[in-house]
Symmetry: C2
Subunit: 199 residues, 2 copies
């Protein structure tokens, strides 16, 4: 009598087992509605005390992609220019200002007030969780993603988050319908024994 049914093999393949990080995409558009649907799905993933610290910039105009490309390494810049869309996963280090309505049954804001170090760690951890939810949600909706950390976070902050100085770039990703021809061999994933223990 579990409340959670097991997904079928095709679904497990689509979100994890055969899903791949794409370098290049098919010539097929991604609409604003497609991008909004990713948020509407990923937003349900849990964060500590419902912090939801991720601040997302969905980049799909040629001007936006060019601006983001100038903040990235050469290889990644070309991938961003050629992708149907990209997203910047930012994190708000003053997320606690939103907690009175996001976590209304306790004074959660006070847990973080005056503790910049705790806010930084919480924003980094939980916006990373949300970034992973984004990757899985996009795949679950039939999109493919190419997450990357090869970019200058300070430049992205200056170009995209100038009006919100408490928001900092965590990582970025391209989005589209992946071109299987752009895939290389898959990198190894070890069995349970290598990185896991039982206690």
């Amino acid at each position: 009598m579990t409340t959670t049914p097991r997904l079928d093999d095709a679904a497990l393949d689509a979100i994890f087992r055969t899903a791949r990080t794409y370098n290049h995409y098919l010539d097929r558009p991604v609409s604003d509605d497609d991008l909004k649907a990713v948020w509407e799905l990923m937003k349900w993933g849990p964060t500590s005390a419902n912090q939801l610290p991720a601040r997302l910039v969905w980049v799909r105009t040629p001007e936006g992609k060019e601006k983001l490309a100038t903040c990235a390494s050469d290889t990644n810049a070309d991938k961003i220019r050629a992708a149907p869309a990209a997203v910047i996963v930012g994190m708000d280090t003053e997320f606690h200002d939103q907690l009175p309505w996001l976590f209304p049954h306790a004074d959660a804001k006070s847990w973080f007030t005056g503790n910049a170090e705790l806010r930084q760690a919480s924003a980094f951890r939980n916006s990373s969780l949300q970034g992973a939810y984004l990757i899985v949600a996009a795949r679950a909706l039939g999109l493919d993603v190419g997450p990357m950390s090869g970019f200058d976070a300070g430049s992205v902050d200056k170009v995209f988050f100038a009006d919100t100085p408490a928001v900092h770039a965590n990582f970025i990703a391209t989005i589209g319908h992946g071109d299987p021809a752009s895939l290389h061999d898959r990198l190894p994933r070890p069995g349970f024994e290598t990185f896991n223990t039982l206690a």
Copy 2:
């Protein structure tokens, strides 16, 4: 001609839309094979340069749960003792030692050698991604989880990672088959406009 099919509504519900963080679980066991299956699924989620920095301790003996409970806040300690299983998501800040076999086509280890700050940030970001993959993978396999950050990370490091001083606890989670009677009202998740912009 996408390579990634869209999941059906029941699957989207199970991993995101109706999935919940559980405080208490039904009296139904979770086997070692169930836990190993979570790793075998989550391991396919992408990490930067295939770092795979997460080091996981799956806690399912009464002794192990008691040891973990002593590192947690009072409320969380009770949840851990009562749960069928729990997991510690640790992160290896010397993950770069594994890159020669995890990312064999470049000298990725040298990118991190001598740069403890970059290793710390990379291990934290990517082990958090893996923690989110763990949450989604467990749900996809019919399990439920209760992630928590209310614990003393230094104590967990001392009790569970004494032999691997470069590994530090990131967050922990209980695992089982969720008891719907233990659920409270769901916390708010805003629409696209609140935390997202288009560029």
